[in-house]
Amino acid sequence: MDLSILFVQIITGLAYGMLLFMIAAGLTIIFGLLSVVNLAHGALFMIGGYFTFTFINQHLNFWLALLISVILLAILGMLIERFLLNRMYGKELEQVLLTFGLIFIFTDLVKWIWGSSPKSISIPPLLDASLTIGVVTFPVYRLFVVVVGCAVALLLWYIESRTRIGAIVRAGVDDRHMLSSLGINFKLVFAGVFAFGAGMAGLSGGLGAPILGLYSGMDNDVLILSLVIVVIGGLKTWKGAFIGAILVGMVDTLGQVWFPSFSMVLIFALMVFILLIKPSGLFGKGVDA
C-alpha cells in the first residue's frame, strides 16, 4: 500500500474517531457525575443535526446555526434533567426506561417534524476544499473535525483541572454527599452538567451532519458506537472516551481496508479483548469501589 494512502486512511480514522469522541464525551461526563446512562444521547445528537439543518435553511450561516443548536440542545438537556431525570436518581432501571423511552419520543418527533426522507447539510464554504496528498485527495473539513475534537479535549482538560467548576464536578464524581454538605447547590451542578453533555451532543450532531447526513435511525448508529467507546475507555472518564474513540475510529477505518467484511466485528472484538484484560476499561477506576 502506498504510504500516502495509509496516511489518508489514518487521518480518516482520526476524524471519525474525533466525531465519536465528542459524542461519547457528553455521555461519559453525564455518567461520571450523575451516574445516569443517558440512552437518549444519540437522539440528542440527531436533534442537534436537524436543528443545524433547519437554521441553515433559514439562511443563517453554518457557524451561527451550529451555535444556536448547541444552545438549544443545552436548554433541552436542562429541561430533561430538571423535569424528568431528577425524579429517578439512584434508580438505574427507571433511568434506563426513561431515557430509552425518550429515544422513541425524539425519533418520532423528528420524523413528524422533518419527515422521513434523509436530509443533508453542505460543508461550510470556508472549509469546502480538498487537499491533495500523493495520489489521493482529502477533504479539509475532516481535518477541521480532528482539530475541533482536539480543541474540545483540551477545553475539557482545562475545565476539569484548572477551574472551580471542574473542581466541583471532580469532587461530585468522587463523593456527592460531601459536595452538598459543603454548601454547593448540587441541583444546579447536575442540571448544568447534563446541559453541558446535551450541548456536546448538539455540537457533534451539527459538526457530523455534513459528513454523515441526517436520517431517522442515525441516533441508534452513533449510540451503539458511543456505548462501545465508553465501555472501552472506562466509565466516568472523558480521557477514556478520547482514547477509546480514537481506537474505535482507527479500527473501524483500517478494518475496512484490511478486513472489509469484519470491520464491525473487529470493534466488538476489541471491546471484548479490553474488557478481558481490564474489566473497568482502559481508564476506568476501581470497579468495585
Binding site: 502506498d2 494512502i5 489518508v8 486512511q9 480518516t12 471519525y16 451516574s35 446512562v37 440512552l39 436518581y89 438505574e92 429515544i103 422513541f104 425519533t107 418520532d108 420524523k111 422521513s116 426522507s117 434523509p118 436530509k119 443533508s120 480538498s130 491533495t132 495520489v135 489521493v136 485527495t137 477533504p139 473539513y141 475532516r142 456527592r176 454527599h177 452538598s180 448540587f186 441541583k187 459528513i211 454523515l212 447526513g213 431517522s216 435511525g217 441508534n220 448508529d221 449510540l223 451503539i224 456505548l227 465508553v230 465501555v231 466509565l235 477505518t253 475496512q256 481496508v257 472489509p260 467484511s261 470491520s263 464491525m264 474488557l275 474489566p279 473497568s280 476506568g284 468495585d288 469501589a289
Partner: protein, 421 residues
C-alpha cells in the same frame, strides 16, 4: 430543597457494565427498527356506498406491508403517497367497490413481517396485498402467500429469485429486479464511458445481485472489472473505499448505493475530489430524486440507468407529476411511481376479471399491460416481472438536479432462469 432528596447512588459498576453491554447487543440487533410504532391508518371513504347486496360491490380491502421505520422509511412513504394519489384520483372506488387500505410496518424484519402478514390476512381479511420493500421480507412471505392463495403486488422488493426459483403465481412485481437494475446500463457504460470499472455495492443480497448482474453484462460488453468492494449496509464513511478508487484509477465507477448511504456516498465522492475526475455510474437509484435531491450539486454528472425520470415524455407522466406535486407539494421519485403503478395494476386486474378473488385475478395478471408514467409496461408471464425500457440518464444542474435522457435501452426483459455462473 430538601436534604433527603440527595441522590443515593449504588456504586455497583459491574452490574452497569453488564447492563450496558447487553443493551448494546440488543441495540445492534434491532438497529433497523428504531421505533416500534405500528403505522396503521385507514383510508376512509368519502362516499358511503349504499348497495351492499351484490357481490361486485363489496369493498376491496388492500393490505400494505412496507418498512415505515428504519433505512427504508423514505421509500415506503413514497410508495404510500403514490398509491393514495392513484386511488384519490379515482375517488377511492373501483367499479362499484369502495377501496380501503390497511397499512402495516414490517420494520424491514422478516419476523415482524410475518406477524403483520398474519394480522392482515387472518384478522383484517384483506383481499390483496401490496409490498414489501425488502427482499428478505418477500422471501419470508412467499410460502405463506402460496398457501393462503392471496395475491401480492410487489412494489419494490427486487430479489431476482422472486422471478426465478421462488416464482409464485400469486406474486407480481411492478417495480424492477436486481438483474435488470444491474445489467441494463452496462453495455452503454462499456461503449461510451470506459473499459475498466471499479464496482461498489452494499454488503447485503441486493447489493451483490446488482453487482453480479453488472459485472456479467459489463464483461460481456468487452469491459473489465478491476475491483469490487462491498461496504456494510449503513456505512457512515466511504473514505477508505474512495481512497482505493483514487489509487486504482479505473475508467469508471459503478456504485449501487441506496437511501442515506447513497446520499453520503455521492457527497463524499465529491469531497474526495473524484467528481468530474472518474465518471460515476450506477443503477437507477443514483439518478433518482431521493438521492439527487438531498445530495445536490454533488450528484451532477452521474450517469444512471433509470426506469423512470421526470423527463420521460408521455401524457401519463405529465399528469402524474403535476398531480403528485399538487397533492404533496414535492417532486415524485421512482418509488412513488411504483406505488402509483401498484394501485393502477390492482384497478385494472379487478376491472378486467370483474372479481376480487385471487383465482380470478391471477388469470388476468399474467401478461397484463398498463400505461405507467414510465411508458407502456407489460408484466412478463414467464417471470411475473415487468418488461420495461431503461433510460440512460445524466444528472444535470438546472434549478436543482434533473435527469437528461441520453439513450434508451428498450424492453429490458429478465431471462427465464438464473444465468449459469
Amino acid at each position: 430543597m430538601q436534604r433527603g432528596k440527595l441522590p443515593i447512588v449504588k456504586k455497583n459498576l459491574n452490574k452497569l457494565v453488564l447492563l450496558l453491554t447487553a443493551l448494546m447487543f440488543i441495540l445492534t440487533a434491532c438497529s433497523q427498527k428504531s421505533s416500534n410504532s405500528s403505522n396503521t391508518t385507514e383510508s376512509t371513504n368519502t362516499t358511503e356506498s349504499t348497495a351492499q347486496a351484490a357481490g361486485d360491490s363489496e369493498p376491496l380491502k388492500i393490505g400494505v406491508i412496507l418498512s415505515f421505520t428504519g433505512t427504508f422509511a423514505p421509500l415506503s412513504e413514497s410508495i404510500k403517497n403514490g398509491l393514495e394519489l392513484y386511488f384519490e384520483q379515482n375517488n377511492w372506488v373501483i367499479g362499484n367497490r369502495k377501496v380501503e387500505i390497511k397499512y402495516e410496518d414490517d420494520e424491514a424484519n422478516p419476523q415482524t413481517a410475518l406477524r403483520k402478514y398474519r394480522q392482515l390476512v387472518d384478522s383484517e381479511k384483506v383481499d390483496i396485498l401490496v409490498g414489501p420493500i425488502s427482499s428478505s421480507v418477500i422471501n419470508a412471505l412467499r410460502d405463506p402467500i402460496e398457501k393462503d392463495k392471496i395475491v401480492l403486488i410487489d412494489a419494490n422488493a427486487a430479489a431476482n429469485d422472486v422471478s426465478w426459483g421462488k416464482k409464485s403465481d400469486y406474486i407480481y412485481r411492478v417495480s424492477f429486479s436486481n438483474w435488470q437494475n444491474g445489467s441494463a446500463g452496462a453495455a452503454y457504460y462499456a461503449k461510451n464511458v470506459g473499459k475498466t470499472a471499479f464496482v461498489i455495492g452494499p454488503d447485503y443480497p441486493a447489493g451483490h445481485e446488482v453487482a453480479d448482474a453488472f459485472i456479467a453484462a459489463f464483461e460481456q460488453a468487452g469491459g473489465k472489472v478491476v475491483k469490487s468492494v462491498f461496504p456494510k449496509l449503513g456505512t457512515n464513511d466511504f473514505a477508505t473505499y474512495l481512497t482505493e478508487v483514487a489509487s486504482a484509477k479505473p475508467d469508471l465507477v459503478f456504485a449501487f448505493a441506496t437511501g442515506t448511504d447513497g446520499i453520503r456516498f455521492v457527497q463524499q465522492y465529491k469531497e474526495f475530489g473524484l467528481q468530474g475526475k472518474i465518471p460515476l455510474t450506477g443503477p437507477l437509484e443514483l439518478g433518482d430524486e431521493l438521492i439527487t435531491g438531498p445530495a445536490g450539486d454533488a450528484a451532477e454528472g452521474i450517469l444512471a440507468n433509470a426506469i423512470w425520470v421526470p423527463a420521460i415524455d408521455n401524457d401519463a407522466n405529465k399528469k402524474f407529476i403535476d398531480a403528485y406535486k399538487a397533492k404533496y407539494n414535492k417532486a415524485p421519485n421512482v418509488f412513488s411511481v411504483d406505488g402509483y403503478d401498484s394501485a393502477q395494476l390492482i384497478h385494472q386486474a379487478i376491472e378486467k376479471s370483474g372479481s376480487k378473488k385471487s383465482e380470478d385475478l391471477i388469470k388476468v395478471l399474467k401478461g397484463i399491460t398498463f400505461e405507467s408514467p414510465r411508458g407502456t409496461i407489460t408484466i412478463d408471464a414467464k417471470t411475473n416481472n415487468p418488461i420495461q425500457n431503461f433510460y440512460i440518464v445524466k444528472n444535470v444542474k438546472k434549478d436543482g438536479i434533473l435527469q437528461e435522457i441520453l439513450d434508451t435501452v428498450p424492453n429490458v426483459t429478465m431471462p427465464e432462469q438464473a444465468p449459469a455462473k
